[in-house]
Amino acid sequence: MAEVLLQLNGISKSFPGVKANENISFEINSGEIHALLGENGAGKSTLVKMIYGLMQPDSGNMKLGSENFRPSEPSKARQSGIAMVFQHFSLFDALNVAENIALGMENPPKINDLSQKIETVSKSYGLPLDPKRLVGQLSAGERQRVEIIRCLLQNPKLLIMDEPTSVLTPNEVTTLFETLLRLKKEGKSILYISHKLEEIREICDFATILRNGEKVGSCTPKNTSAKKIGEMMVGKSFSSPSRKNRTFGEELIKVSNLSVHSKDFFGTSLSNINFSVRVGEILGIGGVAGNGQDEFLGALSGETKTSPKTITLLDQHIGHLRPNQRRELGLRAAPEERLGHAAAPAMSLVENTLMTSHSKDVIDKWGIINFKNISTKTSRIVSEFDVRTPTLDNTAASLSGGNLQKFVIGREILEKPKVFVVNQPTWGVDAAAAAFIRQSILNLASQQSAVIVISQDLDELFEICDTFAVLTNGYMSRIYELGHLSSEDVGLLMGGSDLDLDSHAQT
């Protein structure tokens, strides 16, 4: 029997109005990859933050080895041999890899010695990384490697990884898993946080499942079906979206020779993108974030203007029009960043509804806002899209991620757009909300609209899309019919190669 590395006993933590963790107990053995599973808001992050010393439990205790363990800050946790790779990287784009790693160290060695160390560690764990490269030029997968190597340099006993695969391509996931297995072989433990069931079944030895802040079960993932684990996570069985058979009609939107120079220094410029989407069609655009997705959405939403003929909506050239003008013509978009882009954080839901409403019943010709009508509109979004909020006057920032996303998507879909473009529709959203959002996208497509879904989540694209292309480094692949693609094909496309398939959807 392997020895116990970390033991949690009755950990509880509450915030005003919420019990984030209640009486959670489990053990992590040495040399074990332990999955911590749960929907968003289940309490996973709070729990690991307590292990990593970012927060302290209200009650309960932890034992590391045989000693009591209660880190008051992350540096204490690191000294005890606990390291963490966050979902959102804390790296500086304008510094190189070695400099970034040195910044996070308490007593950094000379940069040359450190570079050498980085190279040694990166080689021995199969994580190729050049210490002299600027972080701004690295892909998301490479950035994650920087974070992992930063942790490995501390020679930790327990490595915590928060949703590590959410930003990776299938090939990068394979590399990551090899590294994790190597670490396991060395006797290190890994606490692996995720809601992706398949990958947990692939590499984890044991899983603890949280729901609403409580531990609801544990299992050996390899011997438990994904369906069963999913039901434990959600607490009920939910149906996957139903797709009716849709026939494709006329071409609704056509994009030709779209090239955009990114305004952001570390952004990705778009090069010569051509495609079209038909009535009833859902086009999925895969690819890892940072390959031009934001720029792509901006060009379609109207935040970036192009020459008129670049974008044609139903025979009308609209490349030069602003976002509100495009909305009037029936082209609507939902950007990825919910707070600050799709919604104004400190403004109420009613005011956020106003963001993309410009019709006469909402704002008259004198510019006077009709708050009664806009409130009615808002309450329709809230009720039809199941947005859980105490009142319509609550600020966007006070909503949970999933609820705000339902609001943002509902706001656009209820206006019945002819073409709807959405970037990462279910990013950071719990499973039930994600299923709901996907279903509403499918419903929209069956009501004579065309939809473009940009997503990193390939499962999602496979679930709802009809046609598929990949955005890599600002270039878009040809469009393929999704039914003819295997996940290996997709991996190849994401690597930038073209497929030799004759089942080309649109010629």
Binding site: R322, A343, I368
Partner: protein
């Protein structure tokens, strides 16, 4: 167990605190201002009377009120008018620091128009002056706006530097172009008190109420309506709140910049005109008295809310007048009054934190 105080972010902004913090800030200012005066005067008994002289006597003491009460509106009028304009830009995250310059230009434009009609009498002269004052301030506000839109310059720097340009123009015209030809060579224009058609007279005798004060009150109402009900007010707020979201909504940032700087310039220009045509009476080298800068403090003291600005403007005017009285009666140094005004802003900002955060005890 060690108990520790900790700030915790509120999920929703507390309305109750938003209203009470200014009152607490005023109270703390009185308390610490009193201590300061006590130390200055070496006698704590007179500390109370200093505070009473500043905050109470200008309004309610018989010997001061007849002079001080009208002065309250005379001083508060331009400050409120300018601060309302500034608050519009501040809400959008556009920082016009140069209202003082726009105020000067408004005065020069309006005065020039009046002097060019001199000595004709007509009821149209005063309205034309007001218009000219508005145009003067508008143009001066438009300069940083256009430079920002076309060359991405920083409006804080440009508007501030234009204050110094305006001051030099003021010095130049009061010694040259606009100098009173009958003034025996002294710098300064004709006095509008002697030119009835151009004079901004008190509407009610001994009330301090002149057209500028009326305009200030109207601007409060219009600004209140703008942010409550109007699309433009909404666009301004969202531009300040989340610029990216505003752009996504289809709001043109250039138009917002021009509107905000233009409007605040326009109101400051009008304030300058009403001042030169009324209380000041003439263009002089030292015509401007810092209202444009005081208005920045008032805009924040009033939390960029029109009603708040109205009250803050009155309070600030009170400390000016009361301060003068206290200097006169107790021989307090002028700097101590400025210190008192600084305290007011300091305490307001310090207590402000409780509207967004709550204090919590935590045991370690």
């Amino acid at each position: 167990m060690i108990a520790m105080l900790r700030l915790e972010k509120r999920r929703n902004v507390s309305r109750a605190w938003a209203v009470t913090t200014p009152l607490i800030a005023v109270f703390l200012t009185m308390l610490f201002g009193g201590i300061m005066f006590g130390l200055l005067l070496d006698e704590f008994a007179s500390a109370f009377s200093a505070i009473k002289l500043i905050f109470w006597d200008p309004l309610f003491d018989e010997s001061f009120a007849s002079y001080a009460r009208p002065q309250l509106l005379v001083k508060a009028g331009p400050i409120i008018l300018i601060a309302i304009g500034l608050s519009i830009g501040f809400k959008a995250g556009i920082w016009n620091i140069g209202a003082e310059g726009q105020y000067i230009l408004g005065a020069i434009f309006g005065a020039s128009v009046a002097l060019s009609f001199y000595p004709q009498e007509s009821i149209f002269i005063f309205p034309i002056m007001v218009l000219a004052g508005a145009v003067g301030g508008f143009i001066w506000g438009l300069i940083p706006a256009l430079l920002k839109v076309y060359f991405k310059t920083n409006e804080i720097l440009v508007s501030l530097m234009l204050v110094y340009v305006a001051e030099n123009i003021l010095a130049s015209v009061s010694q040259g172009l606009l100098r009173n030809p009958d003034g025996m060579g002294f710098p300064g224009s004709r006095n509008f008190k002697d030119y009835p058609s151009a004079f901004n007279e008190e509407i009610i005798i001994n009330s301090g109420m002149h057209w500028g004060v009326i305009t200030a009150f109207i601007s409060v109402i219009l600004a209140y309506f703008l942010f409550l009900k109007h699309q433009k007010g909404y666009e301004i707020r969202i531009s300040g709140e989340a610029p990216k979201a505003a752009y996504f909504a289809g709001i043109n940032p250039s138009k917002t910049i021009i509107f905000c700087l233009g409007t605040s310039g326009l109101l400051a220009g009008m304030a300058g005109l009403f001042e030169v045509a009324g209380p000041a009476g003439q263009i002089t080298i030292s015509f401007n008295s810092g209202y444009g800068f005081t208005a920045i403090i008032v805009a924040f003291l009033g939390r960029l809310n029109p009603i708040g600005i109205l009250l803050a403007g009155l309070l600030m005017a009170l400390t000016y007048i009361g301060g003068e009285i206290a200097q006169l009666m107790l021989g307090l140094p002028g700097a101590s009054i400025q210190l008192l005004q600084g305290m007011l802003l300091f305490f307001l900002l310090a207590t402000d934190i409780f509207t967004n955060y709550r204090l919590k005890f935590r045991s370690l």
